[in-house]
Structures are given as C-alpha cells and as structure tokens.
C-alpha cells in the first residue's frame, strides 16, 4: 500500500492538528505546510484535501472567512469550538493507534 493511501485515512486529523497550531490557514498553505514538515515525504493532493475541508466545514468543525489578497479572494479555514475539541480527540486517538501499531510491528520498541 502506498503512503498516500495510509495518509488519506488520517487527513482530517492532520488538517485539524495544523489548524489547532495555526489560527487560520488556506488550502494551498495546508498542502505546503505538510510538505515542509515532512520534508516532502507526505504530499497532500488537492483532490483529497478539499473534500476533507468541505466535509469538516459542513460538520461544523471549521469556520471560514474570506480576505482580499493580491486582488483575489482567499478563503481561510479556522477551527470552531467543536473543531478544537475534535482536534484533541482525533490526535489522541491517532497517537494511541500509532503506539499500538508500533507494538505490533516492533514489539521490542513497544515494550520500551
């Protein structure tokens, strides 16, 4: 399985986590931030990012605002109160999952 398939399942958590750390972000900024943090190892495609952003917005996890930048409209996403709580829960869930995965894949490391 390619890393992009593994990434897809965690995309909502990644977006929530990034928005938790940054007050507001726009779509392109999110893709570049992920690329930057992972030194180009993870590449979020727009085809996966936008449905995730729109879904989170529809669920009330994200709120949006627009700003005029360079003579065009930029849409910024930020966490709502519910989104903030969801970000913490999702990150904790993913951390626990990774820990258990670690135990399975490398029991010696898991014991330590």
């Amino acid at each position: 399985m390619s890393s992009s398939k593994l990434l897809k399942g965690s995309l909502a958590t990644i977006v929530l986590k990034l928005l938790e750390e940054n007050e507001k972000m726009y779509g392109y900024e999110i893709t570049q931030r992920v690329k930057e943090i992972t030194a180009g190892e993870f590449k979020i495609t727009e085809g996966a990012l936008y449905p995730t952003l729109h879904k989170l917005e529809a669920e009330g996890m994200l709120s949006t605002e627009t700003q005029k930048v360079d003579n065009r409209i930029r849409k910024y996403y930020s966490l709502t109160k519910e989104g903030n709580a969801e970000a913490q829960t999702k990150v904790a869930e993913l951390e626990e999952f990774l820990l258990n995965l670690q135990k399975l894949l490398n029991p010696k490391l898991g014991m330590g």
Partner: protein, 228 residues
C-alpha cells in the same frame, strides 16, 4: 506577485472549461492555482495546468466531483438550518407567531372567505420569498458583472433558491396536474370547503414556511458582492 493578464486569462478559461461557474468554488480554486503558479513560476501555464494541477485535483472529473460534493454539503447545511428555524417557531416566545398565524387564517376565512384566504396566504408564504430571492439573484448577477467577476451566481444562493422554489413547484404540479387529472376540480373544491381544518392548517403552514424562508434569506443570501 500577481498573475499576468495572460496567465489570469488562461486560468479563468481553464476553470470555466472544467465547469466551475459559481462564486465559492471559483474563488477558492482560482486562489489555490494562482498561488501555485506564483510559487512554481512555470514557463507554460497551460501545460502546468494540464500536467501538474489537474492530476493533483484528480483530473477534470475530480474537480467536478469536489464541486458537486461541496454543493451537496452546502444544501444539507441549508436544510438543517431551515429545520432549526422552522421548529424554533414552536418554542417560547416564537410560538406566538404560530398562534397569530392560525388566528389570522381562521379570522380571514370567516371575514374574507375561503378562496381569498387560500390565495392570499399562499402568495404571502410561497410567492413573496420567491420574488425576493429572484430579485436578489438578479442583483447579485448585476453586481458580479459590474465588478468584472468571472462568475454570475453563488452556490449558496442556488441552494436557497431551490428551497424557496420547491413548494412553488409542488403547488404547480398539484394544482395543474394532480387536482384536474386525478382528483377533479369540483371534488377538490368540495373537499376543501368541507374540511376547513385542513385549509386552516395548510394556510398557516404556508405562512410559517414563508417566514422561515425570509429569515433564512436574511441570514444567508448574498445580495451583493463583498468588495474589500
């Protein structure tokens, strides 16, 4: 750094070509792709769009799917908000509006007659929001044109229009197809005059639906472009 006029034209043509004609997806994707062009500085924008941008969106089909799914999600949000507004009318103190609607309809039946009351309440409840939204859509269209925008409609406005248009269409189908063909006009008239409680309920519902649509329009409808 902004896009050159040539780059802007190619990008606008591309977005229109893949079927993005409404405000929200147009602005979001335009900004995303324009930022990418500014950063990557490709020599040939058309090739860059075809070979870099389009595949990352999942092809032209992928772009359309994103737009369609966002439209569906937005419609869902509008329906949810509409239900919230409608059912909030049955809580305190808004229940007063429901009670006044029923009293007005009942009084009108007695004072002004059944036919007049039905026509008046349907016009107020279903036609008035439709006219206001139609005016809003025209106003938005003209505003986009005046500001040289590359779209003429908004997803949000379209979703609201559908909601307001729905009872209007159902009423048309019922009045012009089901009543004359299936039920019969005379039978229907007799049924209405015999069951005054049903007419009262329908008229009051029309008024409450209209009130809900107007409140929703005030909250969400974009009459004018926000020019920063």
């Amino acid at each position: 750094m902004s896009l050159t006029t040539e780059q802007h034209d190619i990008l606008v043509k591309y977005l229109k070509g893949v079927g993005i004609g409404h405000q929200e997806p147009f602005e979001e994707f335009y900004d995303h792709i324009a930022t990418a062009i500014e950063k990557d500085k490709p020599e040939d924008v058309s090739t860059y769009l075809r070979e870099v941008i389009q595949p990352s969106f999942g092809g032209a089909k992928g772009i359309k799917k994103i737009v369609l799914n966002q439209r569906k999600a937005r419609s869902k949000m509008i329906w949810k908000r509409m239900k919230e507004i409608f059912f909030s009318l049955f809580g305190w103190p808004a229940i007063g509006i429901v009670m006044v609607s029923f009293i007005l309809v009942q009084t009108s039946f007695i004072q002004l007659g059944t036919k007049f009351t039905i026509v008046a309440t349907l016009a107020l409840g279903f036609l008035l929001p439709f006219i206001i939204l139609a005016y809003g859509a025209i106003s938005f269209h003209r505003d986009c044109k005046r500001n040289n925008r590359n779209y003429r409609n908004s997803d949000l406005n379209s979703s609201l229009m559908l909601l307001v248009h729905l009872p209007f269409s159902l009423m048309n189908i019922f009045g012009n197809l089901i009543v004359p063909v299936v039920i019969g006009r005379d039978v229907f008239k007799h049924f209405i005059s015999e069951n005054i409680w049903l007419s009262t309920f329908l008229c009051a519902f029309a008024l409450l639906y209209g009130f809900t649509c107007l409140k929703l329009t005030k909250e969400q409808f974009i009459f004018k472009l926000e020019v920063a």
